[in-house]
Structures are given as structure tokens and as C-alpha cells.
Amino acid sequence: MVRSLDLHRDEIIPGTLYLLILKTLARSGELHGYEIANSIQRISEDVLQVEEGSLYPALQRMLIKGWVTAKWGTTAGNRRARYYQLTAAGRKQLAVEMSQFERVIGAITRVIEAV
């Protein structure tokens, strides 16, 4: 895939993890790691079983890129948790990732339908 260079090899669907995280954060605002994992799983109706831990290396890279920021807060259960939030750059990146994803999926679909 186009962005595969940016990604770690043991992601389940290469290239989509960023997109999933970005989209989840865009939808829900501030989330901590566990909430992101849960949210992806719930919305995909348990189809997308991410190795939950791999969220964290991905989040580091997104922090470096400046797509997300993190700050510490407290959960509903009164535990300390690190909350991630989308930045303007992250929002822009989401649009990029979306259009790329659609282009690739569109292409794949056309190939499949042509058969």
C-alpha cells in the first residue's frame, strides 16, 4: 500500500491503524488508549480485532508527527489516564488518509468487479 513505509510490519491491516485512530478521535474528542481500542472494536462490531498493545507505538508516532496531543486526566472511575486529542494537523491528516483509503479501496473494488 501507499503508506506502508510509515507503518510497523505487525499491524494487522497495514496502513489502516492510523486512519482508525484518527477517525475514532475525530468522532469522540478526548479518549484514552483503552477507550480508543474499545471504540474501534465496538463500532466495527468486533470484526477489527486489533492487537490492542500496538495502539501505543502507533500513538507515539502520531505524537511525533503532531497529529495528536496527549494530556493526563482522570477517568470516570477516578483513575489517572492519558487522554489523546486530535490537532489541526491530525484533522488534515485524517482527510489525507481517508481519500487515500477510498482511492485504494475503490481501485480494489474495480479490480474485483471487473473479474
Binding site: H32, G33, E51, Y56, P57, G66
Partner: protein, 895 residues
Amino acid sequence: MNWLRELARRIRMLVNRRQFDVDLEEEMRLHLELRQQDQIESGMSADDAQAAARRRFGNVTSLRERSNMAWGWEWLEHLTQDVRFGFRILNKNLGVTFVIVLTLALGVGANTAIFGLVNGILLQRLPVPAPEQIAALVIQSGESSLGALGFSYPQFVEFREQTAPICEVFGSATAWRLNFTAEGHSDTLTVGGVSSNYFSALGVKPALGRLVLPGEGEHPGEPAVLVLSYAFWQRRFGGDPQVIGKQVRVGGKQATIVGVMEKEFRGQFSVFEMDAYAPLSTVFDESSASNFWTSRDIHSMLVLGRLRPGVTLAQAQSRFDVVSRRLAAQYAVTDKDLNVRVMDERLSRPIPYANNAFIVFSGLFVILGALVLLLACTNIANILMARASVRQREMAIRAALGGARSRLLRQMLTETMLTTLLGGIAGVTLGASLSYLASSTHLSNIPIRLGFGFDWRVFVYALVAVIFTAISAGLSPALRATRADVNTVLHQGGRADAGGKARHKVRGDLMAAQVAGSLTLLIVAGLFVRSLRAVERMDIGFDPNQLLNVTLDPSLDNYTRIQTNEFYRSLETKVRALPGIQSVSLAASVPMGNTLGNQSVYVEGRPVPSGQRAPGVFFNDVDPPYFDTLRIRIILGRAFTDADSETAPLVAIINETMARHFWPGEDPIGKRFSLISDAGPFVEIVGVARDGKYRILAEDPQPYFYVPLTQHFTAQRTLQIRSSMPPELLAPLVQHEIQALDASDPIEEIQTMKESLGGTLGYFIFRLGASLAAAMGLLGLLLAIVGVYGVVSYAATQRTQELGVRMALGASPRQILALLLRQGAQLVAAGLLFGLVGAWALTRAMSHMLVGVSPSDPLTYLSVAALLSFITLLACWIPARRAMRIDPMVALRYE
């Protein structure tokens, strides 16, 4: 600018490293606990829930590592680990570390010192604005033995006028060792007589007062002024700003100090230290015998040019060619075939006449330095090799536990790099202090400065040397150590070395290489030393011992001819009355001095064909006792006498070479020649003197003649005194006599003949070459001894068990000794062979630097080889003897 912000985030993470780890751990723990709680809520047991949470999360440690790695500081982390571990290892093997650091310090130190010297002399540009515009201008001359000449003053002026559109021509004529009197005491100084545009063209500024003004001092007889160099101002006047306006005497002439040169500018030559600068008229008088101002034959000016912006050397060259041709047509006799070369100022160093011998000289020493470094490298490689074999077990085990080979390799190289870096730092410090020492020593009677060229180039050079050492010495042992197969190594029981034969071979090769390198160094050193010996023992045609030279010029006090003669006559009488005086005489010039006259010689009855020039011959004006004082033998005819007066027939004494050259196979006595023209007046030859050295020590025999001072007047003369008293002690007495005769103290220079011969035209360069080469040779020898001793003693320890078995089976200690010695001797012999070949090849470049000894001098080669083989065999013998005393029982139990 995105990457900048990214970098900032990465750095922030690096700084808060610890907090980052704590945060990440907490974050992951929360994740796991929340997941576990969820599972429990959906009905799992606590244990199962924990396991499931972990399963879904993945490998925590590896994820934590990956999160960490995402920030891109992995290499740094490994490096710190390696460095920390490296330091621990170094600390554990303090002795070995010390030896490596010391070895490298010597190698790198020698190299940086030499490179610093070469850098300062050849590579650094002049410390002036836009130094790249400065070009050197030299007159190419086939006739001169040195290949290139300076300009005569008239030529200089013509070129300056006629090339002005593309280049500002400026120049200087150096007066060496003028007597300088200020504040009641005297010393000698080197004065650069400079054209009036010299400083403005260079673009240098005064530190104090003013420099030479436009148009100042370009005609003889202007008031004398002096600009001091910064160093001389500091040394002589303690940096006193009141020095401006001070009246002093320089070269016997009253002068005013008008300024002090800025600190950075130390003269146009990278080697000679100028003490002061003065307009040309301060240095050269109209009455001066040399005819500086008008003669086109006296090439005293060293000329530079500042090219106008955008003008290339090639463009300048074609302009100078045009002017040269014009002048050649205009002055058919003197400027025939005039050919001026325009070149990068740095190519003309150290002086434009040197014919690039200096470049070869420095090249040779850079190679010798590299050789020393190579020897140091092989020593270090040997030590590392020994250490690597000891560490093979550790490496094999680490590899077995999953250490990647690249990581182990990196670790070993980091260790080597650390040690070599320490050695490099020590070496640069050593080199810098040597350099500093050399540059801050003001050689009292030689205006030379050395080794001030410590700049970034030297550091780059040292760094390259260190990295080269680390890689060349460290890579092979590291590769070997990490290549080890865990199975083999662990099965070997206690014996550390798994390299076996191959490793011994490498060590052997290294040892042979060391012997070869050190032999080469020693042969070069030997040749230089023998050359120095030859020069010192060389027949210079006179006896320089117990001689004092005092150069005077009373004409500066407006003495008439008669007064001058009278002054010298009474001075001679007074000096003869001093205790211990054997002989006193006067001469216009001193051998290997700087005031040598050259005259065209027209042989009677052999007119010079038209269009050709009469041959120029160097000569001296002397008085009758001269040949006695200098102990120059008259081998034919007679010496001058008092009868050869001003009114008597003109006479001359020629030397053997001149007799052979002009009157081959004839008796020269009674033959006549003229110094003026084919038509005379003629001078009659009354004697033939032995050949000697006149200009430089290394010169071939050349024609020379003497005329009586009475018949060829010069005001500037050197009083030469032979006494039984040490000349140093005599000097103040003579000075006192002179001051009693003439209160203005017309002394230009006072020094012993020995001192004078130690100068740049005398023994200095030979002594410098010999001592540098000897230092390198000794360093090489030291490294070779350490290396050979190390290899043999290590081999002996490695073979303890084998030797024990041999002894147990009945080998006598003598046989053991012979076994070890034979192997050592084979390697030494191979090394000697390669060394002889290497030295022979390298010394081809040295033929111009050696006097009285051939670059393939068999005596040097053989004696140095014999000495080296003796020493290296001794270095083999000591550890071999120790091995001979092995107790077989102990040896067999040794693991």
C-alpha cells in the same frame, strides 16, 4: 519547518525520558486493568480475565520497547550502553588501556605536530583580508642554481606600473640581522624593507601608530622609520605604547619608531619571523655597495601581487608575459629571456627560490609521520587481538543468548573507539603542546618560527588518524571475536584462543610489518644524521672555530672614504692590542652571510660575444691578513700585502675552481681579467686560494675571487677576529673599543662564526632535518620493540601448554628457546627485507636533501638493519627465555 517541530518533540521526549517510561507503563497498566475488569464483568474468573487481557494486549515488554523506539533514540541508547560497558572494560584492564592510549598519543602526537608544521608553512593562507587574491611573482631563471629569482628594484617598479590595471604589485627586500640599539642596549633584528604600498596592498593594519605611508621610502636618503612587529614589541619593549616616536639606531642609522604591526600578521613568509618593517630607503642607502636602487642585476626584491577582484592567475600571467617581453626588448643584456611566473602565493613557500624542495621535504615527513602512526596501529591491533581472543568466550556466550552479531561488533568497535579517542585526545594535546613550544621559542639567532599552524585542518587530520586507527586496528579483532562459534569456544575448555594458526599468522605479519616500518624510519633518520655529520665535517675551506665577526658601517655617519679607512685602521690596531688576539682582518662579506657581491668577469684577450653576458662570479674584498685569520691556504702565488695599495697595480686572488674554469691547464698567475669591460681596466691574478663554501653549505665548488679592500672600496665591512679567548667573551670587549672610537656605535651585527654558520644558509636546515628524523626513528624503534616483545611473549603464554608437553617429552630448554627464537627471527628477517625495499623506495625522494651521502648508502642500510635486528631479537629473546624456564608440571596443569 515541520521537521524542526518534530525534532523539538523528539528532543523533549529524550529529556523527559524517565517520566516517559513511567507514563507509558502506567498507561499500559491501566489498559490491562480496565480490560481485565471488563472480562470479569462479562463473567470470567479473575485469573482467566488477566490472561485474556494480556493475550489481547500483546507482548508488553516488546510493545514498550517499540513505543520507545518510535521516538528514534534507539541508537543513542545503544551507544550509551556500549560506552558505559566500554568504560567498565577499560577500567578493568587499566594496564592495557594505558599502553594503548600511550602508544596512540605518541603516534597521533608526532603526526599532529608534523602536520601542524606543514599546515602552518604550506597550507594556511596569509592572515590578511581576501588572501586568495595574493599571488607570488618570481622571475624564472635557467641560469640560477635555485631556479627562480626575485626582482631587481628597477624591474619591480616597472612591473608595478605596467601591470597596475590587473594587479597591485608590492614587495619587500629583507635585511637580516641588523644591529638594533634602543634604551642603551643592542640586539640584532630582521627587518623587512617594504615597498610603500606593501601594507595597503596586503590590507593589514597597525596595532599602534602608523605603517609605511604611500610613496614613503622609495628614494634613497629619506628619514629612517621603523614599524615593529607585535612579537618584537612585546619581547623588547614589554608592549609599552610609549614606544611610538622613540629614537633608535638600526643598522648603525638613526631611526624613529612610527608604529607596531597588528598581532596576526607575522610577515609574508610562513617560516621567517620578521622583527620589524621599514621603508626601502631605511634599509638601502644610495651609497650602499650593492647598488640596490639602480642595478638590474641585483634581485633582492621578493614580489607579491594582489590581483584585482575577478582576475585569474592565468589572466595575470598573460599580462606579465606582455610586460616581460617589452622589458626584454628594452634591456637586451640584463633582461634577456625575462620570464615572470605568477603563482598561488602558497606554492612559493617558504621562499620563492626554494624550488619546491620544501614541499618534498614536508611530504617526506608527513609520510614518516604516517609510518609512525601505522606502527602504533599495528601495536594496538596486536593488543586488541590478544584481548579479543580472551573475550571470545564472552562473545560466544552472548551470541548464544541471542545477541545479534552486528550489535556485538558495534560494542567491540565502540570500546576500541573509546580507547583510541582517549589516545587521540592525549595525542592532540601532546602535538599541540609540542607545536606551542616550538612556536613560542624564539630561536635567538635565527629568525625562524615553527609549528604555529594549529587550526581546524590539524584537528580534522588528527580525527581522521584516530578513526583510521580505531577501524584498522579494531575491526579485524572484533570480527574474529564475534565470529566465534559458541560450540567450539565452549568446548575448548580453558584455552582462550580459538583462532589457531590463522591468528598466529596475522600476528606474525603484523610483527614483520612493524619491523619493516621501523627499519624504514630508522634508515631515513640514519641518512639524515649521516648527512648532517657529512655537512659538519665538510671542508668549508676555512677554519670557523674561535672566530668573531663584527659587521660595521661607519658610512652611515657620513664618513668620507678617508675617514672610513682611518676608522677601520685604528679599530684594527686597537683590537690587536686586546688579550689573546691571534689575527684580525677585514672583509666585505662573510661566507654563508647575506652580503655577497657578484661581478661580471671579462677575461683579457677573450672578448664576450655580442648579445651575451659576461659570466658573473662572486667575490670578496679583503685586507692582507684575511687569509691568515680565516686560515685559507694560498696554494699558488702570494696573498695580498700592504704594497697592494690604492695606487698600486690592481690585483686579485682567485680560487681553484675559478682557475680551472677560466684558465684550464694554464698557470693563472699573471693572467688578467676585468670587472668592467673587455677593454679593462684589468686586474692581475697574483695568487690562487683553496676552494671553500661561499653562499650555502650544500653548494658545488664554484668560482670565487678576492680583491684588496684598498682597491675596491666598501664602507660596510666585517671585522674578523681570531683569538685564543672564546669569541663570546671577546664580543663585549670589541664592542667597547668600537664605542670608544665612534660613540654612535655603527655595529650592524656581532656574532661568532659558529653562530653564523648555524643559520638558515648554514647548518640549520640539516640539523632540523636530522633531529626531526631522529625523533621519528626513535619513536618507530620504541614502538617496534614494544610490538615485537608483545607478540612473542603473548605467543609464548598461549603456547605454555604445548611447550610444557614438549618439555615433558624431553625437549631441552635450549631447544624450546631455539624454537621460539627461530620463529621470531624468521619474522624479523621478513620485516627487514620489506623494510629495506621500502626505505630504498622512499629515499629516492631524498636525494636533494642529503649532502655527502647517497640515499642508498649501503653503510647506513646495513648498520641500521644490524642494529634493528639485534634489538628486535633481544625483544624476542627475553620472553622466549622466560618460556624456557616453564616448569612442565605447572604448564600442563595450566587449565
